[in-house]
Symmetry: C2
Subunit: 329 residues, 2 copies
Amino acid sequence: MKILIDVMGADNGLGEIVTGSLNALKKIEYTPIFVGPEDQIRPLIPENLFEKIEIIDAQDVITNEDRPATAIRRKKDSSMVKAFNALKDGKANGMISTGNTGALLAGASLIIGRIENIDRAAITLISPGLRSNTIMLDVGANMDISPELMVQFAKMGRSYAKVLFQKDDPSVGILNIGVEEGKGNNLCRETYDLFKNESFNFIGNIEPYDLLDNDADVLVTDGFAGNIALKSVEGTAKTILSLLKSSISKSLFTKIGGALLASSIKEAMSSLDLDGTGAAPLLGSKQAVFKAHGSSNSRQIEVGIMQIIKFIEADVIADIKANMEQSHE
Amino acid sequence: MKILIDVMGADNGLGEIVTGSLNALKKIEYTPIFVGPEDQIRPLIPENLFEKIEIIDAQDVITNEDRPATAIRRKKDSSMVKAFNALKDGKANGMISTGNTGALLAGASLIIGRIENIDRAAITLISPGLRSNTIMLDVGANMDISPELMVQFAKMGRSYAKVLFQKDDPSVGILNIGVEEGKGNNLCRETYDLFKNESFNFIGNIEPYDLLDNDADVLVTDGFAGNIALKSVEGTAKTILSLLKSSISKSLFTKIGGALLASSIKEAMSSLDLDGTGAAPLLGSKQAVFKAHGSSNSRQIEVGIMQIIKFIEADVIADIKANMEQSHE
């Protein structure tokens, strides 16, 4: 099993990416193929591991400021484009990147191509939850979409949920502003009608109020609403946690209070399993392409690599293909 | 100044509503007209205030389970419909309710009517912010709308922001998934084009990541995305605060830690000014109709009443009317 690892574009630099990849190597048999500037990657690899890894040298980088499709077309020497080309040429089983999400999506479409009968690929998010995690899609790639595409999203999400959550019949919900049938915009209402007639385990609408605590294994939404929800959750968490931090650093008493609470807070927050969410696939792509968060630490990269290997071993893409053929018979 | 106060439909019962209204009476000159079951309201009023208040007896209630338009048409003896009719008949200057939002919107439309040249009324939210609060609209009334309606929302929001924030030229932003021009769904992109040509102070797109910390006085969105954002924020705050609480109650040490931190956390959270957000108007209605959160405590009701009085005294509705005439000249 060979995994292409685009080391560029992470907020915390390529060290976290390389470290996470090498940590995964201690737990699972695979060959990391690092794609990026060899002169920066090589010094990070212990000599005894030289034989277990490969490097594809790439001196250019696609930044978050680059225009996605243009960058994919023009930046031939970038780590992301070189990884895509290696994947297309069969040099690896999958690739993972923390880089520009739009470019990753453009590369998956322009270089790798989509699964037959899938109209558009989706950005997937493994959303942490108190009861269980949820595969949410689309969280940013596709706006103004049809209810038929929402059905494709549901089916792709289910194929992955079977593997990720080890469930035979994963449940599907629609992200909506109310739980009752008939709530929401036209897209949600028409999607509800279609989902009712599908054979999968449809559990109805899920309100964003319950985003971190719901029963859906797969939560379907258009890329606009999904991204609004995702960024609202992140922004609120950021604001509250920064207020909490500033209230702890206020005085000697509050610092003692913070110290007494630290491990308990950490334990409580870990029930949200933020580290466990790692990375997520661009579902709809013909080959395994995983996106990890730009701010990933080495632990998240490690988890992400375990996830892409599981995704490839379980052949989720074959399962999606089979489902899509069925629905077109 | 007379304000109709629908005492029914609050999560915490009518006591909080009556108490908050009477507390406002200590600070500001006005006549509360309580609408609801007189036998339950009367015992809550101190005898020395009997002359300062009025009661309209109403024995029925519109619940959150009622279908909005149907309830407004049929439940003639409900507190909400009786309040609307009194407002229409000129018996008061405005009304405030914690009840069923959809019904409130239906009543504002069916009984009170809309301002000329406003196509649809919007549910407004005063969103708390670290730097300053924001008037956000629409947060749940109108889905699948036109960019032209977004312009009307912006103008109505500005009329209210002038009064609420005492600013001559309030800034307007669009809730969107990215800050750059060209980001988002069709509605956002077309709205951006229209806003650029308006004479108001347009500051571009605001990401939900910055929902609690941004520079917009007025944040315009369609009711679907606005409600998704609002409920995502509420749900995340709820989840994190409940995790925090459970981590404090864990042991004797953590309880001591929590006690040492309590006032500091409270102070930090108060920078979000949750209590100060009180209630918000249904903008577009011909008369002042304010919605307070169902879970409002007496303090929030008190603030809400101060806000509706300010709204009426400053004649925000006349300002909206004047703006709408201008744009149709």
